[in-house]
Amino acid sequence: MDSIESKGQPIKAEVEGALPVALGAGIEDEKIAVASPRQLMWWKFRKHRVAVASAVVLVIFYLLALFADFLTFYDPNAYNSDFKFVPPQSITFIDAEGNFSLRPGVSGLISKRDPETLRITYETDPTRWYPIHFFVKGYSYKLLGLIETDVHLFGLDPAVAEEMVYCPLGSDRLGRDMLARVLHGARISLSIGLFSVFLSLALGIFLGGISGYYGGLIDNIIQRVIEFLRSIPDLPLWMALSAALPPDWSQELRYFGITIILSIIGWTRLAREVRGRFLALRTEDFVLSARLCGAKDHRIILRHMVPSFTSHIIASLTLSIPGIILAETGLSFLGLGLRQPVISWGVLLQEAQNIRTVALAPWLLLPGLAVVITVLTFNFLGDGLRDAADPFNR
């Protein structure tokens, strides 16, 4: 069978410009001509403002998670029975005497117990004022897991720890600092997405690659397995598998167990994608052309095929992360994922399961906001990458 033979002119819309034009005026022709496709993609990505902003937000999030100990003052697991359900506290520059102070501080708190509902509520007490200090000493930790230190970016004078707390995002039912918990939770929630996606990628590339390159029976078997896995509702499966993790496993083991469980579905998507690209590329003229030029298998794969789809795979990976973050959050929320004392956003949200608690302390939903922002930014970033990777974007 002949390939599709178009006669005469290429069948294209008349106005469709040549590819270099698709990158916009303003960049000189010569620069475009010698720019590698990767550079062209980068230029195109840079023009995608929402995606660039998302990338910046994500970098900030990961930095916050990395320096969580330094950036917060309280141990995320430390109870404080005197200050339960403290609402988020705002800083003030007016000290106890009513004078302006350059140093920020927080006003004191007066706790009251509602005689009927027995709830504790807080009111600020402007007559007391606690200045916020920077680079204060607190609990000791290892910065980046390496440097032992006890310096924290900001906090109250350790001397007043008995009578006052400063929780910018409030505290939970056991008086734990929400800021510390959210930032420490970010470590788990943000990393589990990455790990799981890389695990999926490894599996996906391996299986999708053999499936796409060799075809035939192997391909058939792998494809049927993928179809099967995709036809099972993922959440019940995840739930059942997580519930089956031995209860005596350590925190670390459990973390990896959950990561693996989340990859069980994730790899199918990537494997399909890799396979699809391989199949499409295998019949590309330039691959045949490389073969006719004496390129051996490994060169064809590594030099010709792989570079042609890495950018798509990166975009696709980015778009897979949100799903995994959402899944971990959901599982932990249900009590089947990670468990105390490990902190993840899902674990934190579990505290907000009871609607009465939420009504009393709506700031307990803040980890949810973190999830939403993370997922949003990953989606925007992924979209931007995908657009940039696609030479003929709409």
């Binding site: 006669k7 002119q9 008349e14 106005v15």
Partner: protein, 340 residues
């Protein structure tokens, strides 16, 4: 003016793309006479298809008709300026298909994949001829028979993928003729089909033109097809007409360097040529049309001192050329004459 069916006057169409503005059609003027065929020839990007869409006022964003007039003289009373009409209004919609029908380059994709041939045929018939459905179906069968399709009754229940390329284009032609239009726009109707099918389609169109007396605007890049089909020819290059004349003049006495070079650069199956002449360089990018005469970077007759944007001027009876040196060039003999 009595014979003029459609008159295009100084048409300008731009495409506003993120990469820049493309002057797809840049001041094109021509006339189509009743019952005659005008061939529009040009390479990809010359604006010939956009012109066709402008006639039906169907230029879609990011394209926009900037200025010009397209006067339709098909009604007995005053002419209608088609591009002054609301592109979604009822007036232009009555003219589309009812007065001016169009067939497209790819018969495969110009039929819907999920509607039957019958459904797509009767749609326009019911709309323009106010026929009830069953009568429209009977009429469709008649039309399909007329274009030489076997078993037209069964064909009505078929989908596009069940037809061959030639059959699809016949179906499109039957559809286009259903409302007996006064003008048929054929936008590269045979580019996507094989030569033997092309010959069938061209024969059919010629027969039908005689029978129905319609005018045809035939758009193509194929100089052979134009020679066979057209009475008059317009040659386009980068959104402009470079030459317009009757078909004989274009082939035997071309005055524009582009037309001449084009005719000398095509290999022929009827005569043996030793060597082809070439047009050097490439078709410039449509966002970046050369200043002065758009053809000058590729022109053999280019004189730097004279590089102005030449006007489209008449140099003979109905012979229009956009070249400052048209008169001298016109004196030289053409390839066709040389070889014969």
């Amino acid at each position: 003016m009595q014979n003029v069916l459609l008159e295009v006057k100084d048409l300008h169409v731009n495409f506003f793309l993120t990469e820049g503005t493309v002057r797809a059609v840049n001041g094109v003027s021509f006339e189509i006479e009743r019952g005659k065929t005008l061939g529009v020839v040009g390479e990809s990007g010359c604006g010939k298809s956009v012109t066709a869409r402008a006639i039906l006022n169907m230029v879609r964003p990011p394209g926009r008709i900037l200025s010009g007039e397209i006067n339709y003289y098909g009604y007995s009373d005053a002419p209608v300026n088609l591009i002054a009409l609301d592109p979604e209004g009822s007036e232009i919609r009555r003219i589309r298909w009812g007065e001016i029908a169009m067939i497209f380059q790819e018969p495969m994709t110009s039929l819907s994949p999920v509607h039957t041939i019958g459904n797509q045929m009767t749609e326009a018939i019911c709309l323009h001829l106010n026929m009830p459905k069953d009568e429209a179906l009977r009429y469709s069968i008649e039309l399909l028979e007329r274009v030489g399709l076997p078993q037209p009754g069964r064909l009505l229940n078929h989908y596009r993928h069940e037809l061959s390329g030639g059959m699809r284009q016949r179906v499109m032609i039957a559809m286009a003729l259903s409302c007996k239009p006064k003008l048929l726009i054929a936008d590269e109707p045979t580019t996507a089909v094989d030569v033997t099918t092309q010959a069938q389609v061209l024969n059919l169109m010629r027969d039908l033109q005689q029978e129905f007396g319609m005018a045809i605007l035939y758009i193509t890049h194929d100089l052979g097809v134009v020679a066979e089909m057209a009475d008059k020819v317009v040659v386009m290059y980068l959104g402009e007409e470079v030459e317009g004349a009757d078909v004989d003049t274009i082939y035997y006495n071309p005055a524009h360097p582009y037309t001449r070079a084009l005719l000398r650069s095509i290999p022929r199956h009827d005569i043996r040529l030793d060597r082809l002449e070439t047009i050097e360089g490439n078709v410039p990018d449509p966002t970046n049309i050369p200043k002065g005469c758009a053809f000058h970077p590729r022109c053999h007759y280019y004189v730097p001192a004279q590089c102005v944007h030449p006007p489209y001027q008449q140099i003979g009876d109905g012979h229009w050329v956009r070249c400052t040196r048209a008169h001298e060039i016109g004196q030289q003999s053409s390839q066709t004459e040389q070889v014969l």
